[in-house]
């Protein structure tokens, strides 16, 4: 065929004819085989028309006439191409159209990807100010506990390695100072002594009505890293350690047979816990609950080991009630919602279809906040996957709407006791999540805290607080009336208690059972079943609160390991 084509081209056609044919074939822009056929046909036509021309001159003239007869080469090429396309079989037409469609889609996709990748977020709201405004109280600065906590943290001496390796120190549980070896006692006392100044500031802070600490970025934070998620809360770790120091402080006082001072130390810890419970972030609230829990546990230990007078018990009871003048606070999700909105404005463009789209390379920033530098490098390699994920993700408006919907539901759930959730909405927020696509709303899945567990913590904290107050009231009753009451209603009727302690896992009062000269006070626990006061146990068989294999027993206090070094009783 190549030889034939050569033959056709060299077939003594005038130059103008060859040029014309070549131009037509070139402009056809079609399959090679088809163009070859058309070229052959046109060449044959010229040959036929020129066969009677004797001289080269005549051939040239005639060729020009033929070319004029054919008309514009480009137009002819277009007409020939159209006509030949109509000749192609259906399967070829479908294949061609399919590839064209795919090509167009690929081109559109490339353009879309380009537009997608060049999007940039617009930071329009200073959510840090919103956070600070949200938690700023309308009180005088001198009532603010934070400056004292700040001083306490500055004065705090960290425990050394020896202490950190001492199990009895790091997980004190129900261990008295007297149960430790002399060497262990010395080390702990020395450390507590070193932190005496810090502790005094801590106690001063506890006397204040509120704690307001302004949220702020580290001074070295770059502008593009100013996300609320980047705000560190290093003070929380120090505050927890100070609270633990306070527990040892109380145990040292108990060892010296000074229960009143030990109680004051515990009250300082309980007040500290309450300061952090009203905060904007979930983690601060949870730390506050945990610190308060330390205090209640230690108070019950003191009540169990020392015979406090009715006056002391009443004083303690009143002080505990004064900690929450407006009632025990439940989980506040507003701060988390604000943080979510801040993340959205850092990750999404603003405007356009759907209100804006997720910016893929910003997801690597998210990894930066949560991961190490190595993880950031790895994350850049994953950029194509982030791009795909970002394209699948819902738009800005929809993400915000769904996020607000979930946070709103979380706020409602936070007001419900675990028992109320159990009977009315057993799947809780989990069902909302399971209905939310993991691909289209993966950001929400990543960002949302486990509110079910978090809000339950607040109810557990409240139960611990009320149980402690109730135990003190019962002990007082016993001392004044020589026996325990038949039921808790008697306490309320006689003014020893303002209200019955609520069990969050039954929505009834905590279970009180009088037994000889003692009593049992317990919650039915997370299994919502009254196990008759049988405590749930950990893997080592030790009674442990809030397990779903038994009740949570507040009284009697599980075995408190002690050897009284100075027992005046």
């Amino acid at each position: 065929m190549k030889e034939e084509r050569k033959e056709e081209l060299l077939d003594n056609l005038p130059g103008c004819a060859i040029e014309f044919i070549k131009l037509v074939i070139k402009k056809m822009r079609y399959r090679k085989g088809v163009r070859r056929d058309v070229q052959a046909e046109l060449t044959a036509h010229f040959e036929d028309e020129l066969k009677d021309c004797a001289t080269a001159e005549l051939r040239e003239q005639k060729a020009r006439q033929i070319i004029d007869g054919f008309g514009d080469a480009k137009l002819l090429a277009v007409l020939l191409r159209r006509a030949k396309k109509r000749c192609r079989p259906l399967w070829r037409t479908i294949t061609a159209r399919t590839f064209q469609t795919i090509g167009v889609l690929i081109l559109l996709f490339v353009l879309y990807t380009g537009w997608f990748l060049t999007g940039r977020p617009t930071i329009s709201v200073d959510y840090l100010s919103v956070w600070n405004q949200m938690s700023r109280p309308q009180i005088k600065d001198e009532d603010n506990a934070w400056p004292h906590y700040e001083k306490a943290i500055a004065l705090f001496t960290e425990p050394n390695q020896e202490l950190n390796e001492m199990h009895e120190f790091t997980a004190p549980g129900r261990i008295s100072l007297g149960s430790l070896t002399d060497d262990q006692q010395q080390k702990i006392k020395k450390w507590v002594e070193l932190n005496e100044s810090a502790w005094q500031e801590f106690v001063k802070a506890g006397s204040k009505s509120y704690c307001y600490r302004e949220y702020r970025y580290d001074p070295n934070t770059k502008d593009e890293d100013k996300w609320l998620l980047n705000i560190l809360l290093p003070h929380l770790s120090a505050i927890r350690k100070l609270a633990r120091a306070g527990i040892w402080q109380a145990r040292i006082q108990m060892d010296k047979n000074q229960p009143k001072q030990a109680i004051e130390d515990c009250l300082a810890i309980a007040r500290c816990g309450s300061h952090w419970q009203g905060k904007g972030t979930l983690v601060e609230q949870l730390v506050g609950i945990a610190i308060s829990g330390l205090a209640y546990g230690e108070i019950l230990n003191i009540a169990e080991t020392k015979d406090l007078s009715p006056v002391d018990l009443k004083h303690l009871q009143e002080k505990l009630l004064q900690i929450y003048p407006q009632g025990y606070p439940l989980m506040n999700m507003e701060g988390e919602r604000i943080a979510f909105l801040d993340v959205v404005q850092h990750l999404f463009t603003k405007g356009g279809p759907g209100g804006g789209h997720l910016v893929p390379h910003k997801l690597t920033y998210l990894g930066d906040i949560t991961g190490s530098a190595d993880e950031v490098r790895i994350n850049m390699v994953r950029l194509p996957f982030y791009t795909a994920a970002a394209m699948v993700h819902a738009g800005r408006d929809e993400t915000i709407a769904r996020g607000n919907e979930i946070y709103g539901r979380q706020a409602e759930i936070a007001k419900m006791s675990p028992y109320q959730r159990h009977i009315s909405d057993p799947n809780g927020i989990n069902e909302m999540f399971s209905n939310l696509s993991k691909y289209r709303y993966f950001l929400i899945h990543i960002m949302m805290p486990a509110i079910d567990r978090a809000s339950e913590m607040a109810y557990r904290g409240r139960a611990s607080h009320q149980a402690t107050v109730t135990v003190l009231a019962l002990k007082r009753w016993r001392l004044e009336k020589n026996e325990y009451p038949k039921n808790l209603d008697e306490l309320v009727a006689a003014g020893y208690l303002k209200e019955l302690p609520a069990d969050p896992f039954s929505d009834k009062p905590l279970v009180y059972k009088k037994a000889d000269d003692d009593f049992t006070l317990y919650s039915v626990g997370p299994n919502f079943t009254d196990d008759g006061g049988e405590s749930g146990k950990d893997s080592n068989g030790r009674p442990t609160k809030w397990r779903d294999d038994g009740d949570t027993v507040f009284w009697p206090v599980p075995e408190f390991k002690q050897e009284h070094s100075a027992d005046s009783e």
Binding site: V38, A40, E41, D72, L75, L76, R82, R86
Partner: protein
């Protein structure tokens, strides 16, 4: 006489089919035959010829085939298909009706002198 291109446009296909119904021809041969058999009244422009043939081929009214002539030249011969014959009959019938109608309008003036 030069006819309006729009006037010729509609009848070019039926003229080609009619010529091919008498025997296969290649492109140049066909254009010559149209001129001769219409006594030079009708001419099919070269720029129209091949696109028309390819369109008719796409509609399966004609069929093209390469053949080598006695002089060893390869030519693409076009022949009418069965479908083409049917279409030709239909088109001729329509043209006759058209001619008759026009004759009535012009009161027989369309009949050549």
């Amino acid at each position: 006489m030069k006819f309006e291109s729009q006037l010729l446009k509609g009848i070019a296909p039926v003229v080609v089919l009619e010529i091919l119904s008498r025997g296969p021809m290649y492109g140049y041969e066909l254009s010559e035959a149209i001129e001769q058999r219409s006594s030079d009244v009708l001419t099919l422009g070269k720029g129209t010829l091949y696109p028309l043939l390819y369109n008719l081929e796409a509609k399966q009214l004609v069929k093209g085939k390469w053949e080598t002539s006695e002089s060893s030249r390869k030519r693409r011969y076009y022949s009418i298909t069965g479908r083409g014959k049917t279409e030709l009959v239909k088109q001729k019938a329509q043209l006759r009706e058209l001619t008759a109608g026009l004759n009535f309008v012009f009161s027989g003036a369309l009949v050549p002198a």
